[in-house]
């Protein structure tokens, strides 16, 4: 299952709320701890990556937040400025003024402009070898295809001009499974699994980008083995709460019932999740790396959570 971090560009996506930022932050941390210069980029800046690393506000210029680990937030307007500066040698910022003002409009009007500036910046960083690995906290499953397909679309719509020739080398980077991959994050629930399966089915066909791994996040631990489950069921069915209360001697039956109910809920959540995970497994190519991350009962947010997810991912992926 190795090789995930050997790529140059990893897009991390998933349905909203599944924890893709934490997984992206963890992948960046893992890479940097394995001696690679890593960059984590949040594509739709909401401060989530900054919150995950607890590193203070991030901007368009990558900042080193830990040894070898850099982070940035995408800013398509800044990306356009950089593009113009590098490619057209537009001399001064002043001359770009009208462009900046026009930007919001054109980005809305011309399909894919915002996306191409995002993906273009990332591919540029790969080509320039500023980093060994760029992990992208990308758009959610609903938007990721549009984002990754932008170079293809622009290539079809724009027949001449500098952009057309540039989409060419971008497509080369994006379409190379050794360099670029998509990591889909899901949780053992109905909709996140549906979206993950649906994306897995269309990603490569519509964008040319390859699926690199699937991560099932927040998987509840298996409480009981089969025999133990029978014992638990027997305790609950037999009015065992009373027996347990008597055996303990210093508590009410009600308090014991609360405790048994908690275990019962854990079992039911686990079962419902297991069914969704089974559906996920069945729909995926068996060769695709599939990592399971445990539900974090403690801190599920910030640097501590990133640390725990990185450790769990390291074990799962054997990296």
């Amino acid at each position: 299952m190795s090789g995930l971090l050997d790529r140059r560009l990893l897009f991390v996506t998933g349905k909203g709320g599944v924890g893709k930022t934490t997984v992206a932050a963890a992948l960046g941390l893992m890479a940097s701890e394995r001696g690679r210069r890593a960059l984590v980029c949040e594509v739709e800046p909401k401060g989530d990556v900054a919150a995950a690393y607890e590193c203070g506000p991030l901007g368009f210029v990558p900042r080193e937040v830990a040894p070898g680990l850099h982070a940035m937030e995408m800013d398509t307007e800044a990306s356009l400025r950089e593009y113009l500066r590098l490619n057209l040698r537009v001399p001064t910022i002043g001359r770009i003024g009208p462009v900046a003002r026009a930007f919001d409009f054109v980005a809305s009007a011309a399909p894919g402009v915002r996306e191409i500036l995002t993906v273009g910046k990332l591919c540029y960083e790969v080509r320039e070898n500023h980093f060994d690995l760029i992990v992208v906290d990308a758009s959610a499953t609903g938007n990721i295809v549009g984002q990754l397909a932008a170079p293809v679309g622009i290539n079809e719509l724009v027949k001449v001009g500098a952009v057309r020739s540039q989409t060419r080398w971008m497509l080369d980077i994006l379409g190379d499974p050794h360099q670029t991959g998509v990591c889909v994050v899901t949780t053992p629930e109905e909709m996140p699994v549906n979206e993950a399966v649906e994306l897995a089915g269309r990603l490569e066909r519509e964008t040319g980008v390859h699926l690199a791994a699937m991560v099932a996040n927040r998987v509840m631990p298996e409480l009981f083995s089969r025999g133990e489950q029978e014992i638990f069921d027997a305790i609950v069915a037999d009015g065992g709460a009373l027996h347990v209360a008597e055996a303990l001697g210093d508590c009410t039956e009600e308090a014991v019932t609360d405790v048994l109910n908690a275990a019962g809920l854990a079992v039911r959540i686990r079962r419902s999740g297991a069914a969704h995970l089974e559906r996920l497994r069945a729909a995926l190519d068996p060769a695709l790396p599939l990592a399971y991350l445990p539900y974090l009962f403690g801190r599920a947010y910030g640097a501590r959570a990133v640390r725990q997810v990185a450790d769990a991912l390291g074990e799962e992926l054997g990296e």
Binding site: V18, G146, E228, V259
Partner: protein
């Protein structure tokens, strides 16, 4: 503070409103909560209720009968209520938002004539732009809401909102749409190309755009917007009406969240944004919440004892349990596992109760829906959630912070 009357504050809220907009972070059960509120309102009041849903899970869509039927509303059969043991007083209707179809209808309505409409719909850029235009999905949801409300078919509309990049996008979408059409740049872009070149201010932009994208592409875009321009007046006034409806006293917002840290923070930001815009936050739903008993000190003590004194308890239990259920050591492991599991949940339950207390402060009505272990796949499941929203633990703050004048 004097206690209010005993009626469910949620029922009172809905009796005074015609529109409920469900919003909140992704992955918290927003779609299901919207459908649950609609189903319960239909069951309990004599109202004709429509739920306008955006992206329901397959089985929920099946249950509501909205799978693949486009924008048309259909009535959810009363038999699905009776199957759940409820005789509905009102009617539940459901419709799914079809973005493409809604955009097409909008173009047909605002285009000056049929041939312009046809040209726009046939333009290759059209689909791209309606599909990708920032906030186009958000806007069209609000637009549909306005349309259905104006038709006056229903007593109560409950609308789900699309998963947005930013939870606030759809609030500003109508205004942005109006700004977009009023933009000087749009006028510049659709002006004849000769006058565009002589305009000194725009020359650097045009030159740069030409070098990057090529003149032909720019002309294609210009042609498309020239057609779109013909809908300007209709579009702007419509967007303003849509915006006005969101601020109307008949509209209330329902923020749905779980009590996990990140969604809860996002929901709090959302509530603030509603207040800033003078929009009415009528209901805050904390979904998938662990029962308060999971943070109970007595239960905590039991969980601890089960781990420390598992052997003694297991020995005592073995004699009462039926034979053939394994040895004492196995029973012991089960008890330890039960204790550990409770300790895990207890940690989460404590965090949740703290977040809930923080969120309830200053909000009009906060309700909790317990963590149900299965997916909601039928009307019975919706009514179960609705029961918690309507009758569950409800906090009514002394003064709403987001009231309307």
């Amino acid at each position: 503070m004097t206690p209010r009357r005993a009626a469910s504050p949620v029922e009172s809220l809905l009796a005074a409103r015609e529109i409920v907009v469900a919003c909140g972070p992704g992955g918290v059960g927003k779609t299901t909560a919207a459908a649950a509120v609609a189903a319960t309102a239909a069951a309990r009041s004599g109202a004709k209720v429509l739920v306008l849903t955006v992206d329901p899970a397959r089985r929920l869509a099946d249950a509501l009968g909205v799978d693949g039927i486009g924008n048309a509303a259909s009535r959810v059969s009363p038999s699905t209520f009776t199957a759940a043991g409820v005789r509905p007083k009102g009617e539940l209707w459901a419709a799914m938002l079809d973005t493409k179809q809604s955009w097409d209808a909008l173009v047909r309505r605002h285009a000056p004539d049929r041939s312009t409409a046809d040209q726009i719909l046939a333009n290759p850029l059209y689909q791209n732009i309606t599909g990708r235009f920032a906030q186009s999905h958000e806007y069209i949801a609000m637009e549909r809401l306005y349309e259905i409300h104006a038709e006056g078919e229903y007593d109560l509309l409950v609308v789900d909102t699309p998963p947005t990049r930013n939870a606030l996008d759809f609030l500003d979408a109508p205004q942005r749409m109006a700004d977009f059409f009023a933009s000087g740049l749009l006028r510049w872009l659709i002006a004849p190309s000769r006058s565009r070149l002589v305009s000194l201010a725009s020359r650097p932009f045009y030159q740069v755009a030409d070098r990057i994208l090529g003149t032909q592409f720019l002309e294609d875009v210009a042609e498309f917007f020239r057609l779109f321009q013909s809908m300007y007046d209709g579009f702007v006034s419509r967007a303003q009406s849509v915006s006005g409806l969101l601020r109307d006293p008949r509209t209330t917002f329902m923020v749905v969240t779980t009590l996990e840290t990140v969604p809860a923070l996002e929901a709090a930001r959302f509530a603030e944004a509603l207040a800033e815009r003078h929009l009415h936050l009528g209901l805050l739903v904390a979904n998938k919440v662990l029962p308060p008993s999971f943070a109970d000190p007595d239960a905590e003590a039991v969980a601890e004892s089960l781990q420390t004194r598992s052997e003694a308890v297991a020995t005592a239990l073995s004699s009462t349990l039926a034979d053939g259920l394994g040895g004492v050591d196995q029973v012991e492991r089960v008890l330890q596992e039960v204790g550990r599991s409770f300790a895990n949940f207890e940690l989460v339950a404590r965090r949740e109760s703290e977040l809930l207390a923080e969120m309830s402060r200053g909000h009009s009505v906060t309700v909790t829906v317990p963590h149900l272990s299965g997916d909601v796949v039928d009307v019975a499941g919706l009514l179960e959630i609705g029961r918690h929203v309507f009758d569950g633990f409800a906090v009514r703050a002394d003064a709403p912070t987001t009231g309307l004048s």
